[in-house]
């Protein structure tokens, strides 16, 4: 693997007596796509929350571009280049699509380029016709895309997506996979996914989590062949 953009070392996270993460060490290489799969309660979302500073790990370190980022205030993550999309769509419903994208920029730099960037993103997520519409009026899938658009607005280096296709139709899932594949080479994307068709469509480096640990990792084809993974997770499909 090439030089990692993000590397976690022995992350442990306990909630009272519950051991949500029990020593997770993973590396994510620059400008590539990664999937995290695993049954409910495997610790996928907890890992995301620890990486993005929502939870402080009980122990372990997280290095982003070689720098330890544990303990940064939440708003710092977007500033150093880490953005995320939550599991439930959380666009700002009272605002228009355009305003949602506008508010996703932070800092004072390069404001003149904002409009170009917004146009570009609207085009990528396919909402250019709906720019002036209150985002509360969008369909579920459109909200998910808008949120992905918001997450890439500030030109992050690392994008974390928690189940971006939850509740989407097959066609919407396909579109989302194409959208994410389009980011390849420009930024690192880590996706938590449940839908095997989606993971198959992404066909990338895949990490399987189980009971707070990394069970196995590798290219999707290898993972799909792995007997243990099949047993606990894929086999019932």
């Amino acid at each position: 693997m090439s030089e990692p953009i993000l590397e976690t070392q022995d992350i442990v996270k306990h909630f009272g007596g519950i051991r949500a993460l029990q020593g997770v060490s993973v590396r994510f290489s620059i400008n590539s796509l990664h999937c995290i799969i695993g049954p409910n309660g495997a610790g996928k979302s907890t890992l995301f929350n620890v990486i993005t500073g929502m939870f402080r790990p009980t122990s372990g370190s997280i290095r982003f571009e070689g720098r330890n980022i544990v303990g940064l205030p939440i708003y710092e993550y977007a500033r150093i280049g880490i953005t995320r999309k939550f599991q439930v769509p959380s666009v700002f419903e009272s605002m228009t699509v355009l305003e949602n994208l506008n508010v996703s920029m932070h800092g004072r730099s390069a404001k003149a380029e904002w409009m170009d960037r917004i146009d570009n993103i609207l085009d990528i997520i396919g909402l250019e016709e709906l720019a002036e519409v209150p985002s509360g009026a969008l369909s579920h899938g459109q909200k998910q895309w808008l949120e992905i658009g918001m997450a890439v607005m500030p030109e992050p280096k690392l994008l974390l997506l928690d189940e971006p296709t939850a509740g989407m139709t097959g066609e919407e899932t396909q579109k989302t996979a194409e959208l994410l594949l389009g980011f390849k080479g420009n930024l690192t994307v880590i996706v938590i996914a449940h839908d095997m068709r989606f993971v198959r469509a992404l066909d990338s480096h895949t990490i399987v989590m189980h009971q707070g640990k990394v069970l196995s990792e590798g290219e999707f084809a290898e993972i799909a062949e792995d007997a243990t993974v099949r047993d606990i997770y894929l086999g019932r499909q």
Binding site: M54, P73, A78, T83, K111, L138
Partner: protein, 340 residues
């Protein structure tokens, strides 16, 4: 800055036109109003300015203060104490400056500890309630400075001295227009401050603060800015009140006034900035009218009126305009979705 030049959208045009209409009425109003009525209107404008400061905090920042009169009272006392004790021709100007600065510093200290510790929602309401009560008690107890229960009397009108020229804003039109000018300037200033990116960030914080943080916004800092600016505007209103009426009393800091401000904003329309002025006008006029018929009737009527407003127009009088606007926007959205 790009969004300083953002073209006005339809809602903003309507807002500006409404403001222009009210301004026109208020500008010609002194032509037929006698001095007494004019002073009542002037005081109502001052209360409107106080309500505006709460609306900026509550409507735009999403933080409800139930002790907002404390900042108003602090401004009034700062003005009064300075103007009565400083022996220079500039005393009243310095007093007005103090009226803005004292609540500003107080809110900065209080706000830093509350907001950076994550105090929001009902907890924030309760703490501000306590601040109001504490300030009022302090004003009553600290007799040597505040005059205790009887307050301060004989606060001189604002006087501006430039070289050897001196101008005092007297009762009647001069004071009225001074207050009108301050109100308009602050209203337009806050309106401009809530446009574009800054306003979007505040709306985002109200919607989902955690989400706004993950987008890179230091939300506590944004809210602290809003709180301090709001307290400064409330203090300015207090300062204007002190030299306009000439007296200051502990009531100005109290829970009663804080509650009334809340009612003005709720009735006028939270988040509209213009609504609080209308709310203050409607409620104060109604109060005078009903009190002239029967004094004890007023608390009952305002209660019924408030409950009726909450049922009929939960977002205030001005919300009618916004509702029409939203309805049209939603129509457009469904059309687009049918096309897609």
């Amino acid at each position: 800055m790009l969004f300083k030049n953002t073209p006005l959208d339809r809602g903003e045009k309507i807002w500006l036109l409404t403001l222009a209409g009210f301004l026109l009425v208020l500008l010609v109003y002194p032509l037929w109003a006698d001095t007494y009525t004019l002073s009542i209107t002037r005081d109502t404008l001052i209360y409107g300015l106080l309500a505006l400061s709460l609306d900026y905090l509550w409507g735009k920042g999403g933080l409800l203060s139930f002790g907002h009169a404390a900042f108003f009272g602090m401004g009034a006392y700062a003005m009064g104490i300075t103007a009565l004790n400083l022996n220079t021709p500039l005393a009243s100007l310095i007093g007005l400056f103090a009226a803005v600065a004292v609540p500003g510093v107080a809110s900065l200290v209080v706000g830093y500890f509350l907001l950076f510790a994550g105090v929001r929602g009902p907890y924030f309401v309760v703490v501000t309630l306590a601040i109001g009560i504490i300030s009022q008690q302090a004003a009553i107890s600290w007799v040597s400075v505040t005059g205790g229960d009887s307050g301060l009397l004989g606060i001189p009108h604002l006087a501006v001295t430039l070289f050897n020229l001196s101008y005092e804003f007297h009762e009647g039109m001069p004071l009225y227009f001074l207050v009108l000018a301050f109100s308009t300037a602050v209203l337009l200033g806050l309106w401009a401050a809530c446009r574009g990116q800054k306003g979007n960030i505040l709306a985002a914080i109200q919607d989902n603060e955690l989400r706004a943080q993950t987008l890179g916004h230091h939300t506590s800092l944004h809210l602290l800015f809003v709180l301090v600016l709001s307290a400064m505007v409330a203090g300015l209103a207090g300062g204007l009140y002190a030299f306009s009426t000439g007296f200051v009393a502990p009531d100005l800091l109290g829970l009663m006034l804080s509650t009334e401000v809340f009612v003005w904003v709720a009735i006028g329309g939270r988040g509209t900035l213009l609504g609080p002025f209308i709310g203050a006008f409607v409620v104060i006029r109604l109060e005078q009218f009903i009190s002239s018929i029967n004094i004890s009737l007023w608390p009952f009527i305002i209660g019924v009126f408030f409950v009726a407003m909450v049922f009929l127009f939960p977002d205030g009088i001005l919300s009618v305009v916004r509702r029409i606007n939203n309805f049209v926007a939603r129509k457009t959205a469904t059309h687009h979705q049918e096309d897609a």
